[in-house]
């Protein structure tokens, strides 16, 4: 969302917005602590994505690579994506049975706006891994899946 000098609010439509996110993601993110890409390279509506988060150092998650699935509905980016971990993980913002990320417990999802995007959500989840609540939580065996 962008405001022009003439006072017009320009809204990038969903598909073009997701294409931008894809193109930025393909350029890489500095240290690659988070990553994401389409599940199917020909997914015209850019709905289903694979994501990865590298566990932050100094936490129980250090050295682990967590995989997750991201789903963007037709309402995106008016609403945040749905995220489900496929790698088993023990975290206060993740349903322990399904791996689904609880939107009201991740700051970037709770305070979602049209400009937030997938990248910021994954970074926000990674930040949660460092929180006092989560950093020392005992974790399931590495490589286990939901």
């Amino acid at each position: 969302m962008q405001r022009t000098p003439a006072g017009e609010t320009v809204i990038t439509p969903r598909n073009f917005r997701l294409l931008e996110e894809l193109e930025n993601s393909e350029k890489g993110h500095g240290d690659m602590s988070i990553s994401f890409g389409l599940v199917e390279s020909g997914d015209t509506f850019l709905s289903d994505w694979n994501g990865g988060i590298l566990g932050p150092a100094g936490t129980q998650h250090d050295g682990r690579f967590y995989q997750l699935l991201i789903h963007c509905t037709q309402e995106y980016p008016a609403v945040p994506p749905t995220i489900r971990f496929t790698s088993k993980i023990n975290m206060s913002c993740i349903d322990s049975k399904t791996g689904v990320v609880e939107k009201n417990k991740v700051p970037a999802m709770k305070n979602w706006n049209r400009n937030t995007g997938i990248e910021k959500v994954l970074q926000s989840i990674r930040m949660e891994m460092c929180s006092d609540k989560n950093r020392r939580l005992k974790q399931p065996a590495e490589g286990a899946t939901f």
Binding site: E8, T9, V10, T12, P13, N15, L19, G42, T44, L46
Partner: protein, 153 residues
């Protein structure tokens, strides 16, 4: 809804509706006047003949200093169009000029359907087939047109 929409865009839209280009339709969405649904008929004597291809087009905030964003929503077998419908066309990138318009962009895309350029490919797999076995490439393009671009009447 259209508060502050540049006069240039209003003019272009009016002309697209009043004097449509043969074989091309472009209609803005009521809730976003910078966002258009586009239909392009496959040119005659090409493997896209009889197909109607749906595209989407968006005029970013810096249009016309920056080019429109446009891509195919209908699957198409073409060396300069990738699996996500993105189009390799110079005027959508470095050859863009503010003197060009939505109309000229859509005409160029229609022309690209008549003149695929496998030497400047966006989809390498398609381009390889196009260069090594044009007959097979044309056959696949016709099959795609039949499967994905044929209007249900």
């Amino acid at each position: 809804m259209s508060a502050g929409l540049p006069r240039r865009i209003i003019k272009e839209t009016q002309r697209l509706v009043a004097e449509p280009v043969a074989g091309i339709s472009a209609t803005p969405y009521a809730d976003n006047l910078r966002y258009f649904t586009v239909g392009i008929e496959g040119p005659e004597e090409t493997p896209y003949e009889k197909g109607v291809f749906q595209l989407e087009l968006f005029l970013p905030a810096d249009y016309p200093m920056a080019p429109p964003k446009v891509r195919f929503l209908t699957k198409i077998y073409h060396p300069n169009i990738d699996k996500l419908g993105r189009i390799c066309l110079d005027i959508l990138k470095d050859k863009w000029s503010p003197a060009l318009q939505i109309r000229t962009v859509l005409l160029s895309i229609q022309a690209l359907l008549s003149a695929p350029n496998p030497d400047d490919p966006l989809d390498n797999n398609v381009a390889e087939v196009w260069k090594n076995n044009e007959e097979e490439a044309l056959k696949r393009a016709r099959e795609f047109t039949k499967s994905f671009a044929t209007p249900s009447t």
